[in-house]
Point group: C2
DNA sequence: ATAATAGTGTCTTTCAGACAGTATGAT
DNA sequence: ATCATACTGTCTGAAAGACACTATTAT
């Protein structure tokens, strides 16, 4: 978002805000409040990344930021009110950002990249129902490595992470594809690569 | 350590301290300062775990703790001044602790367990020089799974993580074992299990 | 020599990748 | 029919586990 006030006024920065100790139970509640207030998003995947602190990351003095990443689907992305001064940038190349926010992006990118093939994380970038091809492509883009289609289907079956959406088929391709949804309503980790 | 003052006076708690914004560059510097002041330890492996926060984890009001775990060898352990009121407890069963420190231990345990087989972390629990048997046993204890000795040696070789300590042999066993040291002076991650 | 642990070589099993082949819809 | 993509089955190669075997020291 474009910063309205000093320091770094006019520059791009990640959305954030101060903890309101009177209303926020913890820092995750703060993150979710900011997501709702600034972006109108609620009930989305949101996970703590790390705490960035130092004497000089903010010219006003010593500071610490507890950072979270949130994942939304393309659908949620399109529903975000475009009247906000929100600007979307690629995580891998966010351009110049205020404070140490570029470093934070790098950290988040590494986290997502390393977590992608060990969890259901990529599925959260998709709508509730998706095809196996879409899921595999998302795994590939997030992890940065290409996956064998046949082996991917085998592992998805073995990990027992998806449920068929009865009778639902994608119509986007030559042959309609079965639609699936995550079995678990939360992010689950695997003990091996997908 | 045993807490000297309220809240939770007399109870066991993890060593910690407030950030001194005038002398600590960041929270890791705070962690290292506390390690030095309270335990006399310096230059040890120390990594951020997560930030624990909530309105009720401290009866005095809303609070946040940026937590770190530190790893020392048995040798360092024995050099810690036993005059401090430090008490060592198993991470898996720390007993009753002040604040949410038991929860923090659980979190650290999960972190170490999941990181063990994907990094050189276990080697940091050992002295600078160690045998392959010692290293494998440490991997086994930290990860909670037994490892095949032959495969372990193969992977250690492939990962190119160790260097022989020329002419140095352990004398603890029937046949003396070659001593090794880590090639890298820092924690390195693997992209597969050891 | 025997015991005990270190270290090696090889066989077997398991798992991931390749890829051919079939299935199902649109044109 | 043919094209395009979905999905399946099977072969192959690589990696992990099992385990027998040799090596080196102490007793």
């Amino acid at each position: 978002m474009t910063r309205g006030s000093a320091p770094f006024a006019g520059q791009q920065a990640l959305p954030g805000g101060y903890v309101h100790t009177d209303e926020d139970q913890d820092t995750e509640a703060t993150a979710r409040r900011v997501l709702l207030e600034k972006l109108g998003l609620r009930d989305i995947l949101c996970e703590q990344v790390a705490t960035f602190s130092s004497a000089d990351r903010d010219p006003r003095g010593w500071s610490a930021s507890v950072t979270y990443f949130a994942v939304i689907s393309l659908q949620d992305f399109e529903s975000v009110d475009q009247a906000t001064n929100l600007k979307w940038v690629p995580l891998t190349n966010p351009g110049k950002l205020a404070f140490d926010h570029a470093e934070i992006c790098q950290h988040v990118h590494r986290r997502i990249q390393s977590k992608a093939i060990y969890s259901t994380l990529p599925a959260w970038f998709l709508p509730k129902h998706f095809t196996l091809a879409e899921l595999r492509q998302t795994y590939e883009r997030l992890s940065g490595q290409s996956l064998n289609d046949s082996a991917f289907r085998r592992k998805v079956r073995e990990l027992d992470m998806l449920a068929e959406v009865e009778g639902a088929k994608s119509k986007d391709t030559a042959r309609p594809a079965q639609l699936y949804r995550l079995k678990e309503a939360k992010l689950t980790d695997f003990d091996r690569k997908i």
